[in-house]
């Protein structure tokens, strides 16, 4: 079941995205991974708008790994938008950022983030983090994402 959970990775840094995919591979996390590069793209993806209308190609994620500091719309903008989307309240939001600022942690949770992780500097630490994520995905019970399925 876990392998079917799509993960949406939102990060503007091409280097970080590459490192993340390396860490996913090393940690043995095989969930389908979707990548967008900023808040605007993330909102478009989640709303199924623009180039993301096809849910077969761009399925709704169960988990979103969200960077905060991004150009255009940032991670907070995405969280703020997400709060108002009743259709998306089953999405688990994990902030993954370089920011260790307490205000950012507070604000992220205020805006409805479910978890707040800080990007480790060393690759092996990132791998360890993704391993935890993998285990958590295995243990966590996810509801059906689409309410129509539930009915």
């Amino acid at each position: 079941m876990t392998d079917q959970q799509t993960i949406l990775l939102v990060d503007d840094s091409e280097n970080d995205l590459t490192l993340m995919s390396i860490a996913f591979r090393r940690a043995g996390l095989n969930s389908p991974l979707q990548v967008v590069h900023n808040g605007e793209e993330a909102i478009a993806y989640l709303a199924g708008e623009g180039r993301y209308t096809d849910r077969n190609e761009f399925p709704l994620p169960a988990v979103m790994l969200l960077d905060l500091n991004m150009p255009m719309k940032d991670g907070f903008d995405v969280l703020d938008w997400l709060r108002k989307q009743s259709r998306l309240k089953r999405l688990s939001t994990i902030v993954l950022t370089a920011s260790v600022r307490p205000e950012d942690v507070e604000r992220a949770f205020e805006l409805g983030a479910h978890s707040y992780l800080v990007k480790p500097a060393a690759l092996e630490d990132l791998v360890a983090m993704i391993r935890c994520l993998r285990d958590w995905l295995k243990l966590n019970h996810f509801p059906p994402l689409n309410e129509h399925v539930k009915r």
Binding site: D12, S13, E14, N15, D16, T18, L19, I22, H37, N69, P71, M72, A98, S99, R101, K119, A121, A122, L123, E124, L126
Partner: protein, 448 residues
């Protein structure tokens, strides 16, 4: 004889009267309630005393007649002197004197007139009145009343004086009270003012502390990104994992190192512009334009760009090198942020602010405020990719890069521009009508 003398006197006064005037006079004198006596000669021997006189002296006539008057009268010091004079001059006189050693005093008053016989003065008639204590009492009473009046006056004056003084004191006290109230109010005002100052300063300090904190945080955060890449990809290289990608990893490491170096360089430039003391003076904008375009010549050629600098050029109040930096950054950006394959077209122009603001404000004020009187507005316009309205404020933030993948850079250039303009007392902004590139503007003061 005294009676005869008196009769004689009356006779001389009324010579032709058939009446027995001397006899009448004597009878009057005898019955008069006023004490009278007649004295003779220079020694003033008493020759006659009427019954009232005898009663006054409390002696029978026999004991009074033939005596010197001075031996009879109780108060006589000046009386005798006066008798002498009346006798000598023939002029009547009145006199009053105190009886010595009588307590309370007794006043004797005398009225004297001469007695004529054969055209010469032979004696003097004395009428004596003892005013006893009555006059004294009256005088005393009068005096007392007078004193009282005086006193009353004095008292009134004193009271008036006191009242005036009191009133003055009350007024003074009122003034003092008023002054005290005013001082209190002023003190309260001062305290409130100080409190406000402290609050303001604290807010300023807190704000600048927050800014500094945010600044340091941004630096740490943004410098860590290339470091993270360097560390991650060097890990991959060291582990020998994925040898096919080794060159890519090495390149990523090099790029990150280069980026970090550029960021540090720009950061230092930003810090310098924020801290450096800028001596402002009149600057010919034309020389700045020429120098900046000359130093950008290679970049312009490489980008196949065209820069149009439209005079006339004003003189502005600025710091030359800083203004050059501003223009350099803005033109560099305009050269950089174009769609691929589009040759950049840049126009630099300057305009003077209208002398006064229009009296009526437009109903919908434009996003770009008009330049204030006394300022020069410089425009740097391009045909580039433009900036969406929601990002127009962000772009001046340190390290902020809207298009990280498409365009190189550190995200410091516009932060430097904004800081530089601020430090030269100006304003900066941008407008970007969709599809028409960006129009950066900045205002600088005209020199006096």
């Amino acid at each position: 004889m005294s009676t005869e003398a008196m009769a004689e006197k009356q006779t001389t006064t009324n010579a032709n009267q058939p009446l027995d005037l001397p006899g009448l006079c004597l009878a009057f004198t005898e019955r008069a309630p006023l004490p009278m006596a007649a004295v003779e000669g220079t020694t003033h021997i008493v020759r006659y005393a009427n019954p009232a006189f005898c009663a006054l002296m409390a002696k029978p006539m026999e004991q009074l007649v033939e005596k010197r008057i001075s031996d009879l009268l109780p108060a006589k010091d000046q009386c005798v002197t006066l008798l002498d004079r009346v006798f000598r001059t023939g002029r009547p006189a009145s006199h009053a004197e105190h009886e010595p050693s009588q307590q309370p005093l007794v006043l004797w008053s005398y009225t004297m007139w001469p007695v004529l016989a054969d055209e010469r003065f032979v004696g003097v008639i004395i009428q004596v009145t003892e005013t006893a204590k009555f006059h004294e009492k009256t005088v005393a009473m009068n005096e007392a009343l007078m004193l009282g009046a005086v006193r009353q006056h004095e008292l009134k004056e004193a009271a008036d004086r006191l009242n005036a003084k009191l009133e003055l004191e009350i007024t003074e006290r009122k003034h003092a009270q008023q002054a005290l109230l005013e001082a209190k109010a002023a003190l309260a005002d001062e305290a409130a003012h100080l409190e406000r100052l402290v609050t303001e300063r604290t807010a300023e300090l807190t704000s600048s502390n927050k800014q500094l904190e945010a600044f340091i945080y941004t630096i740490a955060h943004d410098l860590r990104a290339p470091l993270r890449a360097m560390q991650g990809f060097s890990d991959m290289l060291v582990n020998g994992e994925d040898p096919k990608a080794a060159v890519d990893y090495a390149q990523r490491i090099r790029t990150s190192a280069r980026l970090m170096d550029a960021m540090l360089t720009d950061l230092l430039a930003f810090s310098r512009i924020s801290q450096e003391k800028l001596d402002l003076g009149p600057v010919h904008f034309e020389t700045i334009v020429q120098a900046t375009l000359a130093s950008l010549e290679t970049n312009i050629q490489k980008a196949n760009g065209r820069v149009e600098a439209v005079g006339p050029w004003p003189i502005v109040l600025a710091h030359g090198p800083t203004l050059s930096q501003v223009l350099f950054n803005l033109v560099s950006n305009a050269l950089k942020f174009v769609r691929p394959g589009v040759p950049p077209q840049i126009r630099i122009r300057a305009e003077e602010a209208p002398a006064t603001h229009p009296s009526t404000l437009p109903l919908h004020p434009p996003a770009t405020p008009p330049a204030q009187p006394g300022f020069i507005r410089v425009w740097v316009e391009d045909n580039g990719i433009g900036i969406a309205p929601e990002h127009q404020e962000q772009i001046f933030r340190l390290f902020l890069r809207l298009h990280r993948d498409a365009y190189e850079g550190t995200g410091v250039g516009l932060a430097i521009v904004q800081k530089a303009i601020e430090r030269m007392g100006g304003r900066i902004g941008v407008e970007s009508p969709p599809g028409h590139g960006s129009r950066f503007w900045f205002d600088l003061r005209k020199p006096h």
